[in-house]
């Protein structure tokens, strides 16, 4: 009974695809599901709604009173020469099978031909090098596995062939979207980890029959292995390149061990950690750490520059001194005198000089006068104005 149900469902689905009343028109459908068997009921296409929807192409055109539903005899009748065109094609509306020389019909020959071709096609199987196929008997009993190459099996309903690309590397992204996946690390911090599992089918037979839901199993195992691996690391190790490589390696090994224990028929090709980030909630604080590192480096660089300047200055000054001192040593007294006079020249050339004979003479220092001059000069030279000294009244 169950198999009948199955067949009917399958047929129903196939009908739904082809049915001219298929869900989109809405007019012909009268609540009998997706148009599957609506055609047999008689009520479906005869309702008024039919006029809006597409018409049944298998029925004769209107004008012959209330339309009956299509039944099997109508369909056979319409195949005659006077019936409406069944299929489009170059033969036109008066499609007819040519007669055999003996006057018999080609129809049986054609049917036998089509059936045998169909049988042959369903018996021969070309399995590509990357594929495996499992053959099951009618009813689902496992028969054998087809390896790549040309294979012959029993025709379709007796042997069913289910082929699958076993080399194809499949990817599972965890998490699938962009949401955070927080994993607790060994030092009880949280890391936002996203990773990809690459896997393929090792043994199609196990993959098909052993696990209820291999994909969910792979994801669960990955989740479990990843959390266990991250929990063995500290947060900083999780972020470091070496730590990540180690986690990838451990997750892969653990996953393979578990999946083998489940006899899942799956090989894990690799685990790739896309990123390990701090959780979004504390990202700023983490960024501030690297900013702080930059700041510290900047401070040190500034110090190094200053240090360089100080040292260069010291070296320059002492070198100048050394040079002069070298000369001084050759002729100490003369050099000393020369330096003295040269300096005094430079100094006294630019200053106001007053020579005062001391003793008995009361000197009057015209300080306001001097100040006035001092004010005028920078103004005349258009230099930066010096702060105005308070005038003495």
């Amino acid at each position: 009974m169950d198999m009948l149900d199955g067949l009917r469902k399958r047929f129903g689905v196939a009908m739904a695809g082809k049915s001219p009343w298929g869900g989109s028109s809405g007019g012909g459908s009268d609540g009998q599901g997706p148009g599957g068997e609506g055609g047999d009921s008689g009520s479906g296409p005869a309702t008024g709604g039919d006029k809006k929807g597409p018409r049944n192409p298998w029925l004769p055109g209107g004008g012959d009173g209330p339309r009956r539903s299509a039944n099997i005899e109508d369909i056979f009748k319409n195949r005659g020469p006077e019936g409406p065109r069944r299929t489009g094609g170059p033969r036109g509306p008066n499609f007819n099978l040519p007669r055999r020389p003996g006057g018999g019909s080609w129809l049986p020959v054609l049917v036998v031909g089509i059936v045998s071709v169909g049988l042959l096609v369903s018996m021969a199987h070309q399995i590509a090098p990357r594929e495996q196929a499992i053959v099951t008997w009618l009813g689902g009993k496992y028969s054998h596995t087809l390896e790549p190459g040309f294979n012959i099996t029993m025709p379709y309903p007796i042997h069913q062939v289910d082929r699958e690309d076993v080399r194809e590397i499949r990817l599972e992204r965890i998490p699938e979207g962009t949401e955070q996946k927080l994993i607790l690390t060994g030092d009880q911090n949280l890391a936002n980890v996203s990773y990809i599992i690459r896997w393929n089918i090792k043994d199609l037979r196990l993959f098909r029959f052993q696990l209820d839901d291999p994909l969910t199993t792979i994801k669960d195992v990955a989740e479990s292995a990843m959390r266990a691996a991250v929990a063995e690391k500290t947060l900083d190790q999780t972020f470091s390149g070496a730590g990540r490589a180690d986690i990838e390696e451990r997750v892969m090994r653990r996953m393979q061990a578990l999946l083998d224990a489940y006899r899942s028929g799956v090989t894990i090709q690799g685990v790739d950690i896309n990123k390990t980030d701090p959780p979004g909630e504390v990202l700023d604080a983490f960024r501030d750490v690297s900013v702080a590192e930059q700041d510290a480096n900047a401070a040190m660089n500034r110090s190094r520059a200053t240090a360089q300047r100080i040292l260069s200055q010291a070296e320059g000054e002492t070198e100048a001194f050394d040079k002069v001192y070298e000369q001084y040593r050759l002729a100490p007294e003369v050099t000393r005198q020369r330096l003295y006079y040269e300096t005094m020249e430079r100094v006294l050339r630019e200053t106001d000089k007053t020579v005062v004979e001391t003793g008995g003479v009361t000197t009057y220092l015209p300080l306001p006068e001097i100040r006035k001059r001092a004010q005028e000069r920078p103004a005349a030279a258009a230099a930066a104005p010096t702060p105005t000294p308070a005038r003495e009244q």
Partner: protein, 283 residues
């Protein structure tokens, strides 16, 4: 067509009835299912029962007959099945809350027991979930937060598996494996405080890095100053007397000499001044 119908009405009907009869007494057991035949409410036999030593294709999947109407066929999964636990909050021995979700993989090894105790495969899954939850809570509640995060999990899982397996046998199931998929901090306070702790830890780290940078910068400066002092001493120390004179000359130049931004200076010289020694013409 119509003549065919007219002529063979009876035989067509007979064939149809026979077909329906045959089809309703046939049933199919695929490789991944076991079937329990129930006659008058009692399980009488099992088809394609799971046995660890038999490979696929040898266990008895295929086409079978039953007595229509009398026999009912209950299908039970033969694959490894999955119980997933909804995330649960668990209180650890050190009074921390942890959100845990776990899964168990099991297989039905005694379909008759399953049919008696739970009816269907889904029934088993529904029954096992609360058991998994309670076993997990019991077992994890004895452990500390830190130990749950690390490898000690393995030991806990063995206990949980054993306990769950004992209960699962009553439903004809065998537990293959129990794993904790996720251990998370519960939303709200615990998660928030973890974030706060992480944040403050990083703030402290940033502060330390900045201070360290500051310290290193100062040291670099001081070292340069010391080195400069050494260079000066090394050079000037050769003749302190001459240095005094030389530096004084430089200083006069800098103080009174020509240059931008210097205050105007007036110098009142006494004729006794050393500079004016020759001015007097004395010898």
């Amino acid at each position: 067509m119509e003549t065919l119908w007219q002529d063979h009405k009876r035989s067509i009907i007979a064939v149809g009835v026979l077909l329906v009869l045959v089809l309703s007494s046939l049933f199919v057991v695929p490789e991944d299912e076991q079937a329990v035949i129930i006659r008058a409410g009692q399980p009488v036999s099992v088809v394609n029962r799971f046995a660890p030593d038999r490979n696929f294709g040898e266990a008895g999947a295929g086409l079978y007959f039953r007595i229509p109407v009398v026999d009912r066929v209950q299908r039970i999964d033969r694959k490894v099945l999955n119980v997933t636990m909804q995330p649960q909050e668990v209180l650890t021995s050190d009074q921390q809350r942890l959100k845990v979700d776990a899964y168990a993989r099991f297989r039905i090894i005694d379909p008759v027991q399953t049919v008696r105790a739970a009816g269907t495969t889904d029934g088993v899954i529904r029954q096992l979930e609360p058991v998994l939850i309670s076993v997990l809570r019991q077992e994890l509640g004895r452990r500390s937060f830190a130990s749950l995060l690390t490898a000690e999990r393995g030991d806990a899982m063995v206990n949980i598996r054993r306990k769950l397996d004992e209960q699962a046998r009553e439903y004809g199931a065998q537990i293959i494996d129990v794993r904790i998929a996720r251990t998370d901090l519960p939303e709200g306070r615990p998660l928030e405080s973890a974030f706060v702790r992480m944040r403050t830890e990083r703030e402290r780290e940033a502060e330390a890095i900045r201070a360290e940078g500051d310290r290193a910068a100062r040291v670099i400066r001081a070292e340069a100053d010391a080195e400069a002092a050494r260079i000066y001493a090394n050079s000037y120390g050769k003749d302190a007397n001459f240095y005094d004179f030389y530096r004084a000359m430089q200083s006069y130049d800098a103080t009174f000499g020509p240059g931008e931004g210097k205050g105007e200076s007036s110098i009142i010289l006494s004729p006794d001044n050393e500079y004016l020694r020759q001015f007097r013409g004395q010898r």
